[in-house]
Symmetry: C2
Subunit: 227 residues, 2 copies
DNA sequence: TCCCCCATCTAAGCGCTGTCAACATTCTTT
DNA sequence: AAAGAATGTTGACAGCGCTTAGATGGGGGA
Protein backbone atom coordinates (compact mmCIF):
# COMPACT_ATOMS: atom_id res chain seq x y z
CA UNK A 1 0.00 0.00 0.00
CA UNK A 2 2.48 2.60 1.14
CA UNK A 3 5.24 0.68 -0.54
CA UNK A 4 3.19 0.37 -3.65
CA UNK A 5 2.83 4.12 -3.82
CA UNK A 6 6.52 4.73 -3.31
CA UNK A 7 7.34 2.38 -6.11
CA UNK A 8 4.72 3.84 -8.37
CA UNK A 9 6.38 7.20 -7.92
CA UNK A 10 9.89 5.96 -8.40
CA UNK A 11 8.83 4.22 -11.55
CA UNK A 12 9.55 6.29 -14.60
CA UNK A 13 6.01 7.52 -15.24
CA UNK A 14 3.98 5.23 -17.48
CA UNK A 15 0.80 4.66 -15.52
CA UNK A 16 -0.25 1.13 -16.17
CA UNK A 17 0.72 -0.42 -19.46
CA UNK A 18 0.40 -4.17 -19.30
CA UNK A 19 2.74 -6.07 -16.99
CA UNK A 20 5.48 -3.73 -15.90
CA UNK A 21 8.23 -4.50 -13.39
CA UNK A 22 7.58 -4.23 -9.69
CA UNK A 23 10.78 -4.59 -7.74
CA UNK A 24 13.22 -2.05 -9.03
CA UNK A 25 10.59 0.19 -10.45
CA UNK A 26 11.38 -0.26 -14.10
CA UNK A 27 14.61 -2.12 -14.39
CA UNK A 28 14.44 -2.86 -18.06
CA UNK A 29 14.27 0.84 -18.87
CA UNK A 30 16.98 1.58 -16.32
CA UNK A 31 19.22 -1.00 -17.94
CA UNK A 32 18.81 0.54 -21.36
CA UNK A 33 19.65 3.97 -20.02
CA UNK A 34 22.62 2.61 -18.08
CA UNK A 35 23.80 0.91 -21.24
CA UNK A 36 23.63 4.12 -23.23
CA UNK A 37 25.49 5.99 -20.50
CA UNK A 38 28.28 3.43 -20.57
CA UNK A 39 28.32 3.40 -24.35
CA UNK A 40 28.85 7.15 -24.42
CA UNK A 41 31.38 7.22 -21.63
CA UNK A 42 33.53 4.19 -22.35
CA UNK A 43 32.65 3.04 -25.82
CA UNK A 44 31.50 -0.39 -26.89
CA UNK A 45 34.43 -2.13 -25.23
CA UNK A 46 33.15 -1.16 -21.80
CA UNK A 47 29.60 -2.24 -22.50
CA UNK A 48 29.48 -5.52 -20.61
CA UNK A 49 26.29 -6.88 -19.15
CA UNK A 50 27.87 -6.88 -15.72
CA UNK A 51 28.89 -3.26 -16.06
CA UNK A 52 25.36 -2.32 -17.07
CA UNK A 53 23.96 -4.16 -14.08
CA UNK A 54 26.52 -2.48 -11.84
CA UNK A 55 25.60 0.93 -13.22
CA UNK A 56 21.93 0.21 -12.62
CA UNK A 57 22.68 -0.99 -9.10
CA UNK A 58 21.58 -4.59 -9.43
CA UNK A 59 23.28 -7.96 -9.41
CA UNK A 60 24.89 -9.37 -12.56
CA UNK A 61 22.09 -11.87 -13.07
CA UNK A 62 19.20 -9.46 -12.65
CA UNK A 63 19.06 -8.40 -16.32
CA UNK A 64 18.22 -11.96 -17.31
CA UNK A 65 14.72 -11.45 -15.96
CA UNK A 66 14.19 -8.73 -18.55
CA UNK A 67 16.36 -9.73 -21.50
CA UNK A 68 17.00 -13.20 -22.78
CA UNK A 69 20.68 -12.48 -23.16
CA UNK A 70 23.10 -9.65 -23.72
CA UNK A 71 22.16 -9.38 -27.38
CA UNK A 72 18.58 -8.64 -26.55
CA UNK A 73 19.58 -5.73 -24.33
CA UNK A 74 21.84 -4.40 -27.08
CA UNK A 75 18.94 -4.73 -29.49
CA UNK A 76 16.79 -2.62 -27.22
CA UNK A 77 19.48 0.05 -27.04
CA UNK A 78 19.91 -0.02 -30.80
CA UNK A 79 16.16 0.33 -31.30
CA UNK A 80 16.18 3.53 -29.32
CA UNK A 81 18.94 4.74 -31.58
CA UNK A 82 16.98 4.00 -34.75
CA UNK A 83 14.01 5.84 -33.37
CA UNK A 84 16.09 8.90 -32.55
CA UNK A 85 17.78 8.86 -35.91
CA UNK A 86 14.41 8.71 -37.62
CA UNK A 87 13.36 11.75 -35.65
CA UNK A 88 16.53 13.62 -36.61
CA UNK A 89 15.88 12.90 -40.28
CA UNK A 90 12.28 13.98 -40.03
CA UNK A 91 13.33 17.22 -38.42
CA UNK A 92 16.00 17.90 -41.03
CA UNK A 93 13.44 17.50 -43.76
CA UNK A 94 10.94 19.71 -42.01
CA UNK A 95 13.38 22.53 -41.39
CA UNK A 96 15.06 22.50 -44.78
CA UNK A 97 14.96 25.80 -46.64
CA UNK A 98 13.66 24.30 -49.86
CA UNK A 99 12.46 21.04 -51.29
CA UNK A 100 15.33 20.71 -53.70
CA UNK A 101 17.92 20.94 -50.94
CA UNK A 102 16.18 18.74 -48.42
CA UNK A 103 17.83 15.61 -49.76
CA UNK A 104 21.21 16.99 -48.95
CA UNK A 105 20.01 18.34 -45.64
CA UNK A 106 18.79 14.89 -44.68
CA UNK A 107 22.15 13.43 -45.61
CA UNK A 108 23.96 15.97 -43.48
CA UNK A 109 21.62 15.35 -40.55
CA UNK A 110 22.21 11.62 -40.91
CA UNK A 111 25.96 11.98 -40.81
CA UNK A 112 25.75 14.44 -37.92
CA UNK A 113 23.69 11.96 -35.93
CA UNK A 114 26.37 9.34 -36.50
CA UNK A 115 29.08 11.80 -35.52
CA UNK A 116 27.29 12.81 -32.32
CA UNK A 117 26.46 9.23 -31.32
CA UNK A 118 29.31 7.23 -32.77
CA UNK A 119 29.16 4.22 -30.49
CA UNK A 120 25.39 4.06 -30.66
CA UNK A 121 25.43 4.37 -34.44
CA UNK A 122 27.91 1.55 -34.75
CA UNK A 123 25.90 -0.61 -32.40
CA UNK A 124 22.76 0.01 -34.44
CA UNK A 125 24.33 -1.33 -37.60
CA UNK A 126 26.16 -4.12 -35.81
CA UNK A 127 22.90 -5.49 -34.49
CA UNK A 128 21.17 -5.02 -37.82
CA UNK A 129 23.91 -6.68 -39.79
CA UNK A 130 24.27 -9.59 -37.40
CA UNK A 131 20.70 -10.44 -38.26
CA UNK A 132 21.03 -9.42 -41.90
CA UNK A 133 17.89 -7.36 -41.60
CA UNK A 134 16.67 -3.92 -40.62
CA UNK A 135 13.25 -5.26 -39.78
CA UNK A 136 12.15 -4.03 -36.43
CA UNK A 137 14.76 -1.36 -36.78
CA UNK A 138 13.27 -0.69 -40.18
CA UNK A 139 9.95 -0.10 -38.55
CA UNK A 140 11.54 2.31 -36.14
CA UNK A 141 13.47 3.95 -38.92
CA UNK A 142 10.66 3.75 -41.38
CA UNK A 143 9.95 7.40 -40.89
CA UNK A 144 13.56 8.10 -41.77
CA UNK A 145 13.50 5.85 -44.79
CA UNK A 146 10.25 7.19 -46.16
CA UNK A 147 11.40 10.74 -45.61
CA UNK A 148 14.37 10.08 -47.84
CA UNK A 149 12.11 8.58 -50.46
CA UNK A 150 9.68 11.49 -50.38
CA UNK A 151 12.47 14.03 -50.41
CA UNK A 152 13.95 12.39 -53.49
CA UNK A 153 10.60 12.47 -55.22
CA UNK A 154 10.02 16.10 -54.38
CA UNK A 155 13.50 17.03 -55.46
CA UNK A 156 12.60 15.69 -58.86
CA UNK A 157 15.17 12.92 -58.83
CA UNK A 158 15.82 11.51 -62.25
CA UNK A 159 13.73 8.40 -61.81
CA UNK A 160 11.12 7.08 -64.16
CA UNK A 161 9.22 4.61 -61.99
CA UNK A 162 8.74 3.33 -58.48
CA UNK A 163 11.53 0.83 -58.76
CA UNK A 164 14.00 3.49 -59.74
CA UNK A 165 12.86 5.60 -56.85
CA UNK A 166 13.48 2.66 -54.56
CA UNK A 167 16.92 2.17 -56.01
CA UNK A 168 17.69 5.84 -55.57
CA UNK A 169 16.50 5.71 -51.98
CA UNK A 170 18.70 2.73 -51.25
CA UNK A 171 21.56 4.48 -52.96
CA UNK A 172 21.11 7.65 -50.98
CA UNK A 173 20.94 5.74 -47.71
CA UNK A 174 24.05 3.77 -48.60
CA UNK A 175 25.93 6.90 -49.56
CA UNK A 176 25.06 8.62 -46.31
CA UNK A 177 26.07 5.54 -44.35
CA UNK A 178 29.38 5.38 -46.14
CA UNK A 179 30.14 9.00 -45.43
CA UNK A 180 29.07 8.58 -41.81
CA UNK A 181 31.55 5.76 -41.34
CA UNK A 182 34.40 7.49 -43.13
CA UNK A 183 34.06 11.08 -42.02
CA UNK A 184 35.98 10.48 -38.82
CA UNK A 185 39.23 9.40 -40.42
CA UNK A 186 42.22 11.57 -39.67
CA UNK A 187 43.24 11.53 -43.31
CA UNK A 188 40.48 13.98 -44.10
CA UNK A 189 41.30 16.53 -41.44
CA UNK A 190 43.28 18.81 -43.68
CA UNK A 191 40.55 18.81 -46.26
CA UNK A 192 37.95 19.51 -43.57
CA UNK A 193 39.92 22.51 -42.41
CA UNK A 194 40.26 23.79 -45.95
CA UNK A 195 36.56 23.52 -46.56
CA UNK A 196 35.69 25.27 -43.33
CA UNK A 197 34.69 22.56 -40.90
CA UNK A 198 33.37 19.06 -40.69
CA UNK A 199 29.88 19.86 -41.81
CA UNK A 200 31.06 21.64 -44.92
CA UNK A 201 33.22 18.61 -45.64
CA UNK A 202 30.25 16.32 -45.34
CA UNK A 203 28.18 18.54 -47.63
CA UNK A 204 30.98 18.60 -50.15
CA UNK A 205 31.49 14.85 -50.19
CA UNK A 206 27.78 14.13 -50.38
CA UNK A 207 27.45 16.63 -53.20
CA UNK A 208 30.19 14.89 -55.14
CA UNK A 209 28.71 11.43 -54.94
CA UNK A 210 27.69 11.52 -58.55
CA UNK A 211 30.22 9.18 -59.86
CA UNK A 212 28.73 6.12 -61.41
CA UNK A 213 27.87 6.47 -65.08
CA UNK A 214 24.21 5.70 -65.00
CA UNK A 215 23.57 6.47 -68.62
CA UNK A 216 26.15 4.04 -69.88
CA UNK A 217 25.15 1.13 -67.71
CA UNK A 218 21.51 0.66 -66.93
CA UNK A 219 20.47 -2.12 -64.72
CA UNK A 220 19.38 -4.91 -67.02
CA UNK A 221 23.09 -4.82 -67.55
CA UNK A 222 24.45 -6.19 -70.83
CA UNK A 223 27.88 -7.31 -69.71
CA UNK A 224 27.02 -9.15 -66.55
CA UNK A 225 30.20 -11.17 -66.63
CA UNK A 226 32.60 -8.53 -65.46
CA UNK A 227 33.41 -9.98 -62.09
CA UNK B 1 69.56 -23.85 -45.11
CA UNK B 2 68.12 -27.30 -45.44
CA UNK B 3 66.33 -26.89 -42.14
CA UNK B 4 65.09 -23.50 -43.18
CA UNK B 5 63.61 -24.98 -46.31
CA UNK B 6 61.92 -27.79 -44.43
CA UNK B 7 60.40 -25.28 -42.09
CA UNK B 8 59.25 -23.04 -44.88
CA UNK B 9 57.50 -25.98 -46.47
CA UNK B 10 55.94 -27.30 -43.32
CA UNK B 11 54.69 -23.84 -42.52
CA UNK B 12 52.52 -23.84 -45.59
CA UNK B 13 51.37 -27.45 -45.74
CA UNK B 14 51.38 -28.87 -42.25
CA UNK B 15 49.97 -32.34 -42.50
CA UNK B 16 52.86 -34.77 -42.19
CA UNK B 17 55.84 -35.36 -39.96
CA UNK B 18 56.11 -38.01 -37.31
CA UNK B 19 57.65 -35.46 -34.97
CA UNK B 20 55.92 -32.18 -34.65
CA UNK B 21 58.13 -29.13 -34.88
CA UNK B 22 60.14 -28.33 -31.78
CA UNK B 23 59.75 -24.66 -32.35
CA UNK B 24 56.99 -23.94 -34.80
CA UNK B 25 58.36 -22.99 -38.20
CA UNK B 26 56.74 -19.64 -38.89
CA UNK B 27 54.19 -19.16 -36.16
CA UNK B 28 53.29 -15.58 -36.85
CA UNK B 29 52.24 -16.45 -40.39
CA UNK B 30 50.47 -19.57 -39.19
CA UNK B 31 48.54 -17.52 -36.66
CA UNK B 32 47.34 -15.10 -39.30
CA UNK B 33 46.19 -17.96 -41.48
CA UNK B 34 44.52 -19.70 -38.56
CA UNK B 35 42.79 -16.46 -37.69
CA UNK B 36 41.44 -16.08 -41.20
CA UNK B 37 40.25 -19.67 -41.20
CA UNK B 38 38.35 -19.12 -37.96
CA UNK B 39 36.99 -15.82 -39.20
CA UNK B 40 35.56 -17.52 -42.26
CA UNK B 41 34.24 -20.54 -40.41
CA UNK B 42 32.81 -19.04 -37.24
CA UNK B 43 32.68 -15.32 -37.77
CA UNK B 44 34.22 -12.63 -35.60
CA UNK B 45 32.59 -13.95 -32.43
CA UNK B 46 34.71 -17.10 -32.58
CA UNK B 47 37.93 -15.24 -33.23
CA UNK B 48 39.56 -15.44 -29.82
CA UNK B 49 43.27 -15.44 -29.34
CA UNK B 50 43.03 -18.77 -27.59
CA UNK B 51 41.06 -20.27 -30.46
CA UNK B 52 43.65 -19.06 -32.94
CA UNK B 53 46.42 -20.60 -30.86
CA UNK B 54 44.45 -23.84 -30.61
CA UNK B 55 43.94 -23.88 -34.37
CA UNK B 56 47.64 -23.33 -34.90
CA UNK B 57 48.47 -26.06 -32.39
CA UNK B 58 50.32 -23.98 -29.82
CA UNK B 59 49.69 -22.87 -26.27
CA UNK B 60 47.47 -19.88 -25.52
CA UNK B 61 50.43 -17.74 -24.57
CA UNK B 62 52.56 -18.48 -27.62
CA UNK B 63 51.09 -15.71 -29.81
CA UNK B 64 52.37 -13.10 -27.38
CA UNK B 65 55.88 -13.74 -28.62
CA UNK B 66 54.84 -12.56 -32.06
CA UNK B 67 52.11 -10.01 -31.41
CA UNK B 68 51.98 -7.49 -28.60
CA UNK B 69 48.33 -8.24 -27.98
CA UNK B 70 45.22 -9.51 -29.70
CA UNK B 71 44.71 -6.22 -31.50
CA UNK B 72 48.05 -6.50 -33.21
CA UNK B 73 47.17 -9.92 -34.59
CA UNK B 74 43.84 -8.61 -35.82
CA UNK B 75 45.67 -5.71 -37.43
CA UNK B 76 47.87 -8.13 -39.28
CA UNK B 77 44.85 -10.06 -40.52
CA UNK B 78 43.14 -6.85 -41.56
CA UNK B 79 46.24 -5.72 -43.40
CA UNK B 80 46.15 -8.85 -45.50
CA UNK B 81 42.56 -8.03 -46.29
CA UNK B 82 43.34 -4.50 -47.43
CA UNK B 83 46.06 -5.83 -49.66
CA UNK B 84 43.75 -8.36 -51.26
CA UNK B 85 41.02 -5.80 -51.73
CA UNK B 86 43.47 -3.47 -53.42
CA UNK B 87 44.39 -6.28 -55.77
CA UNK B 88 40.75 -6.99 -56.55
CA UNK B 89 40.17 -3.35 -57.39
CA UNK B 90 43.25 -3.21 -59.57
CA UNK B 91 42.11 -6.27 -61.45
CA UNK B 92 38.60 -4.90 -61.93
CA UNK B 93 40.02 -1.77 -63.44
CA UNK B 94 42.35 -3.68 -65.72
CA UNK B 95 39.70 -6.03 -67.02
CA UNK B 96 36.95 -3.46 -67.52
CA UNK B 97 35.57 -3.27 -71.03
CA UNK B 98 35.91 0.48 -71.31
CA UNK B 99 37.28 3.43 -69.42
CA UNK B 100 33.91 5.01 -68.90
CA UNK B 101 32.52 1.93 -67.19
CA UNK B 102 35.56 1.10 -65.10
CA UNK B 103 34.34 3.25 -62.24
CA UNK B 104 31.25 1.15 -61.91
CA UNK B 105 33.22 -2.04 -62.39
CA UNK B 106 35.49 -1.07 -59.54
CA UNK B 107 32.49 -0.42 -57.36
CA UNK B 108 31.02 -3.80 -58.17
CA UNK B 109 34.33 -5.52 -57.49
CA UNK B 110 34.57 -3.71 -54.17
CA UNK B 111 31.13 -4.83 -53.08
CA UNK B 112 31.79 -8.37 -54.29
CA UNK B 113 34.95 -8.53 -52.23
CA UNK B 114 32.97 -7.49 -49.18
CA UNK B 115 30.29 -10.05 -49.98
CA UNK B 116 32.82 -12.86 -50.42
CA UNK B 117 34.78 -11.96 -47.28
CA UNK B 118 32.17 -10.47 -45.00
CA UNK B 119 33.86 -11.08 -41.67
CA UNK B 120 37.23 -10.01 -42.98
CA UNK B 121 35.76 -6.89 -44.52
CA UNK B 122 34.10 -5.93 -41.27
CA UNK B 123 37.28 -6.57 -39.35
CA UNK B 124 39.21 -4.35 -41.74
CA UNK B 125 36.99 -1.37 -41.06
CA UNK B 126 36.68 -2.11 -37.37
CA UNK B 127 40.42 -1.92 -36.96
CA UNK B 128 40.65 1.18 -39.12
CA UNK B 129 37.85 2.99 -37.33
CA UNK B 130 39.10 2.09 -33.86
CA UNK B 131 42.20 4.05 -34.74
CA UNK B 132 40.31 6.67 -36.74
CA UNK B 133 42.74 6.24 -39.58
CA UNK B 134 43.36 4.18 -42.67
CA UNK B 135 47.07 4.83 -42.49
CA UNK B 136 49.00 1.65 -42.80
CA UNK B 137 45.92 0.16 -44.28
CA UNK B 138 45.83 3.16 -46.53
CA UNK B 139 49.27 2.25 -47.73
CA UNK B 140 48.11 -1.27 -48.41
CA UNK B 141 44.97 -0.01 -50.06
CA UNK B 142 46.67 2.86 -51.75
CA UNK B 143 46.62 1.02 -54.99
CA UNK B 144 42.88 0.63 -54.58
CA UNK B 145 42.36 4.26 -53.69
CA UNK B 146 44.46 5.61 -56.49
CA UNK B 147 42.79 3.28 -58.96
CA UNK B 148 39.46 4.82 -58.07
CA UNK B 149 40.90 8.27 -58.48
CA UNK B 150 42.41 7.51 -61.84
CA UNK B 151 39.31 5.75 -63.06
CA UNK B 152 37.24 8.80 -62.15
CA UNK B 153 39.60 11.05 -64.01
CA UNK B 154 39.57 8.85 -67.10
CA UNK B 155 35.81 8.57 -66.98
CA UNK B 156 35.69 12.33 -67.32
CA UNK B 157 34.04 12.92 -63.98
CA UNK B 158 32.54 16.35 -63.67
CA UNK B 159 35.32 17.85 -61.60
CA UNK B 160 37.13 21.07 -62.20
CA UNK B 161 40.22 20.71 -60.04
CA UNK B 162 42.25 18.33 -57.91
CA UNK B 163 40.22 19.04 -54.83
CA UNK B 164 37.00 18.14 -56.54
CA UNK B 165 38.58 14.97 -57.82
CA UNK B 166 39.57 14.12 -54.26
CA UNK B 167 36.05 14.79 -53.06
CA UNK B 168 34.65 12.62 -55.81
CA UNK B 169 37.08 9.85 -54.92
CA UNK B 170 36.07 9.99 -51.28
CA UNK B 171 32.44 10.05 -52.33
CA UNK B 172 32.83 7.03 -54.56
CA UNK B 173 34.63 5.08 -51.87
CA UNK B 174 31.98 5.99 -49.32
CA UNK B 175 29.19 5.00 -51.67
CA UNK B 176 30.76 1.63 -52.37
CA UNK B 177 31.30 1.04 -48.67
CA UNK B 178 27.70 1.89 -47.92
CA UNK B 179 26.41 -0.50 -50.55
CA UNK B 180 28.79 -3.19 -49.34
CA UNK B 181 27.40 -2.95 -45.82
CA UNK B 182 23.77 -2.82 -46.90
CA UNK B 183 23.65 -5.28 -49.76
CA UNK B 184 23.24 -8.26 -47.47
CA UNK B 185 19.96 -7.17 -45.88
CA UNK B 186 17.04 -9.47 -46.42
CA UNK B 187 14.80 -6.54 -47.23
CA UNK B 188 16.41 -6.29 -50.65
CA UNK B 189 16.05 -9.91 -51.64
CA UNK B 190 12.89 -9.46 -53.63
CA UNK B 191 14.41 -6.57 -55.52
CA UNK B 192 17.55 -8.59 -56.15
CA UNK B 193 15.50 -11.38 -57.64
CA UNK B 194 13.58 -8.97 -59.83
CA UNK B 195 16.76 -7.43 -61.15
CA UNK B 196 18.32 -10.81 -61.87
CA UNK B 197 20.74 -11.47 -59.07
CA UNK B 198 22.84 -9.80 -56.45
CA UNK B 199 25.39 -8.36 -58.80
CA UNK B 200 22.75 -6.73 -60.97
CA UNK B 201 21.27 -5.28 -57.82
CA UNK B 202 24.60 -3.83 -56.80
CA UNK B 203 25.10 -2.34 -60.25
CA UNK B 204 21.66 -0.84 -60.16
CA UNK B 205 22.07 0.72 -56.74
CA UNK B 206 25.50 2.07 -57.53
CA UNK B 207 24.18 3.50 -60.77
CA UNK B 208 21.43 5.30 -58.92
CA UNK B 209 23.64 7.00 -56.40
CA UNK B 210 23.22 10.33 -58.09
CA UNK B 211 21.02 11.89 -55.58
CA UNK B 212 22.51 14.94 -54.01
CA UNK B 213 21.82 18.16 -55.88
CA UNK B 214 25.33 19.31 -56.49
CA UNK B 215 24.35 22.24 -58.65
CA UNK B 216 22.09 23.76 -56.07
CA UNK B 217 24.43 23.44 -53.14
CA UNK B 218 28.11 23.85 -53.73
CA UNK B 219 30.47 23.39 -50.93
CA UNK B 220 31.18 26.86 -49.64
CA UNK B 221 27.62 26.33 -48.56
CA UNK B 222 25.47 29.39 -47.87
CA UNK B 223 23.09 27.98 -45.27
CA UNK B 224 25.50 26.29 -42.92
CA UNK B 225 23.06 26.40 -40.04
CA UNK B 226 20.84 23.55 -41.05
CA UNK B 227 21.76 21.17 -38.30
C1' DT C 1 82.95 -29.74 -33.04
C1' DC C 2 80.92 -28.29 -28.77
C1' DC C 3 78.33 -25.46 -25.82
C1' DC C 4 75.78 -21.89 -24.25
C1' DC C 5 72.61 -18.12 -25.04
C1' DC C 6 68.29 -16.58 -25.92
C1' DA C 7 64.33 -16.59 -28.86
C1' DT C 8 60.57 -19.40 -28.60
C1' DC C 9 57.20 -22.16 -26.41
C1' DT C 10 54.51 -24.16 -22.06
C1' DA C 11 52.26 -24.09 -17.46
C1' DA C 12 49.90 -21.78 -14.15
C1' DG C 13 47.17 -18.17 -12.68
C1' DC C 14 44.65 -13.42 -12.26
C1' DG C 15 40.61 -10.80 -13.05
C1' DC C 16 37.29 -10.26 -16.20
C1' DT C 17 33.21 -11.88 -18.95
C1' DG C 18 28.28 -14.23 -20.21
C1' DT C 19 25.28 -17.45 -18.43
C1' DC C 20 22.83 -20.53 -15.41
C1' DA C 21 20.66 -22.95 -11.33
C1' DA C 22 19.20 -22.46 -6.75
C1' DC C 23 17.45 -19.59 -3.40
C1' DA C 24 15.21 -15.33 -1.38
C1' DT C 25 12.04 -11.62 -1.67
C1' DT C 26 8.08 -9.11 -3.00
C1' DC C 27 3.74 -8.12 -5.63
C1' DT C 28 -0.82 -9.92 -7.41
C1' DT C 29 -4.43 -12.89 -7.15
C1' DT C 30 -7.62 -15.67 -5.00
C1' DA D 1 -4.05 -15.26 4.50
C1' DA D 2 -2.23 -18.50 1.30
C1' DA D 3 -0.70 -19.40 -3.30
C1' DG D 4 1.80 -18.32 -7.18
C1' DA D 5 4.08 -15.43 -10.40
C1' DA D 6 7.37 -11.90 -10.96
C1' DT D 7 11.73 -10.05 -9.65
C1' DG D 8 16.28 -9.91 -7.48
C1' DT D 9 20.63 -12.25 -5.14
C1' DT D 10 24.25 -15.68 -4.51
C1' DG D 11 27.47 -18.72 -6.09
C1' DA D 12 29.36 -21.29 -9.63
C1' DC D 13 31.21 -22.61 -14.31
C1' DA D 14 33.76 -22.22 -18.54
C1' DG D 15 36.05 -19.18 -21.54
C1' DC D 16 38.40 -14.94 -22.40
C1' DG D 17 42.88 -11.55 -22.66
C1' DC D 18 46.98 -11.09 -20.56
C1' DT D 19 51.12 -11.77 -17.29
C1' DT D 20 54.77 -14.22 -15.05
C1' DA D 21 57.98 -18.00 -14.31
C1' DG D 22 60.07 -21.78 -16.06
C1' DA D 23 61.31 -25.38 -19.77
C1' DT D 24 63.30 -26.40 -24.49
C1' DG D 25 66.05 -26.59 -28.28
C1' DG D 26 68.51 -24.37 -32.54
C1' DG D 27 72.00 -21.13 -34.34
C1' DG D 28 76.23 -18.41 -33.42
C1' DG D 29 80.57 -17.84 -31.00
C1' DA D 30 84.43 -20.75 -28.91
Amino acid sequence: MVTAMREAESAVLEPHSASKPYHHGDLSRALIQAGRRILEAEGPAGLSLRAVAREAGVSPAAPYHHFKDKGELLDAIASEGWREMGAAIAQARATGPSASSSTLNIGVAYVCFARDNPALYRLMYKMARDKQTMEGHAKDAESGWSHVREALKEAGADVSDERELTLATIGAWCAAHGVAEMAGFKEFERLKAELGGEEAFVRAVLSHIVVFPRQTMRYPCPDEAVR
